[in-house]
Amino acid sequence: MQNREFEKQVQDKMEGLKLTPADAVWEKVEASLPEEKKRRWLFFVLCFVFLLTASLLVWNSLNTGDKTSVQQLATKEDSNKVASVQDKNVQDAPNNATTNLLQKEKPGSEVTSATKKNIHFKGSAKIKIKNGNADLISATSEENVATAKNKKKNTKAAVKVTIKAPVAASDTDEYTSAIVIPADPAGVVNNHNNIVAADTIVVKIKQAVTDSLIVKNDTAKKATKENKKAKRTTSWQYGIDFAAGSSAVSNNLFNNKSVYADVFASPSSSATGGGGQSAAPTPNQPSAKAAINFGFYAEKNIASKWKFKTGLNYSYQSNAIKTGAKVDSAINLNSPFYSNLTASSYYRSGSSTAYTNRFHLLEVPLLLQFKNSQRSPLYFEAGPSFAWLLSSNALIYNASTSSYVTNKEMFNKLIVSFTAGAGFDIAKRSKLPISIGYQFKYSLNSVIKPEFAKQHFINSMIWLKIPLKK
């Protein structure tokens, strides 16, 4: 037995070896420390809130623009008879219009200035114009609309009805829509409205609950229903999509733990205070690298605002890791979970070699898309996606051999991910109505089996969607 007196003397003396480092050392260490603790989840929440807010603002502005345009709101069964008379000067109007109610009223009183603030109204009315004069023969409403039959005087209010119709109409024309703007939004009764123009008539409504009223006749209502039904039953739309961005792996979306943190103990677990046991080198963490997705998609309307989207994508994910030198000889991984698990080559622990972990997957997304309005170019999508790992060369740190190895037994084949994102239609009515958007994807299960490491994919990607059939 070797006498270790010499070693003991060396140990004792070296325990007392202390040297004062230069101040620059701490400055460099400090420079490498993060400014604040990373809160990735907060970042993603902020991104989501930002996207939501931006989309609402854009939608709101687009929607407001639409409502001010009578042209867009007016739909007439006979398109030849449709004309916009928005903002027409009342004084210049050559023809008068009256309602069956106002025919009894004293002419000469003037319509007060109408409130231009528009609000949707659900209801219907039948409007007929005879001999060039716009006479509202009857008006019926389904939902709290003032009608000619309404008798609740205290809820009456004068409104200005703008009919999008040619002034010189035929004997009897039915118009599918009109804008009704209350002259007195507060609901003040006005029984002395004047007949002002063929395209502007005054009617009374039951409740001035709206600033604007879209009046539709029964025919239009049926047509709208049919249109909606037709849209809902539209056949599959399909096309190709392409996405590119970054791919990273993480132990958990909500913390910065090492991907090996849950697998084997940290160096402290074998520490004895002064040495004497094995030193487990700290395995290097993979860092983010490129991700690419491309493939076919198919989508279908399932409701007025909802679409279902699926497809088949090839997905390439990668990340970078630093290892030691490569050794081209077989190694037994001494895995307690798998007998005779080996690797044909391995990389030593260290940081001398830059290595790219690559993952090739086949993916089927099952997403729901939400679009608040058909006119809105913005939409959101979310849902699960299922990917099958085709192959990977990813190196995984093996603690028992202190080396980085790869073996297909170490990977989970089925990766289930959650996807969320937002898209924006560009040139919707052109020949190439492409969409672009952002997508965040997080794999709910680890791509590496949990006994070896815990690596969840985190993707942040920009995508492009090109429809082939619409």
Binding site: F6, E7, P21, S268, S278
Partner: protein, 187 residues
């Protein structure tokens, strides 16, 4: 231990003052560790810097199952070994050729050098010897463990250590004799 817990918790919250306190608490000792594995204070400081970056990056892995100092020390040793492997100045000297087994001398001379003198002697060993001498004699790793760390066989580690130890004993004796002669001459 309680103090360590508080300090680590604050460091994990990225409290800069606590991080500096942790650094200052261990920097001098750890620079001594790094110094033994390198050939100069400048290189030792490079290792120390890299080591502390890794300490702060992996602090969440510390599970309070041993002394914090020992945990940091292990990271410093690992960092030092990585530094030697990737640094061109050390790489050629770090080639561990397979050599014949060398019998370990049973001599255990008294070391009359002070700490810094002994550290300087260790530094003067060829890098391969220096590394294995540090790992075995100072840190207490077994030759099997050293083999796994450096990617060599335990036999190579034993042989290298035997040579390093013999060299160190020769130098210690010589220093002792020189010192004695100087003392004699002065008297």
């Amino acid at each position: 231990m309680e103090q360590d817990l508080q300090l680590i918790t604050a460091c994990l919250k990225n409290d800069r003052a606590s991080q500096k306190q942790l650094y200052q608490q261990y920097a001098e000792v750890m620079l001594g560790v790094c110094y033994r594995y390198t050939k100069s204070v400048v290189d030792a400081e490079d290792v120390l810097q890299e080591g502390f970056i890794r300490v702060f990056k992996n602090l969440h892995q510390y599970k309070f199952q041993g002394e914090l100092g020992a945990w940091i020390r292990r990271i410093m040793v690992t960092t030092a070994l990585n530094f030697l492997k990737r640094n061109a100045r050390y790489q050629s000297d770090l080639a561990f050729d397979k050599i014949e087994m060398h019998p370990v001398t049973d001599e255990n001379p008294e070391i009359q050098l002070n700490t810094k003198e002994l550290a300087s002697l260790i530094q003067q060993l060829p890098t391969g010897y220096q590394t294995i001498f540090n790992l075995h004699a100072v840190e207490g790793y077994s030759h099997v463990e050293i083999g796994a760390l450096l990617g060599i066989t335990d036999g190579t580690s034993r042989s290298q250590y035997a040579r390093a130890r013999a060299l160190m004993i020769t130098w210690v004796k010589k220093y002792y004799l020189d010192n004695k002669l100087q003392t004699y001459a002065k008297s």
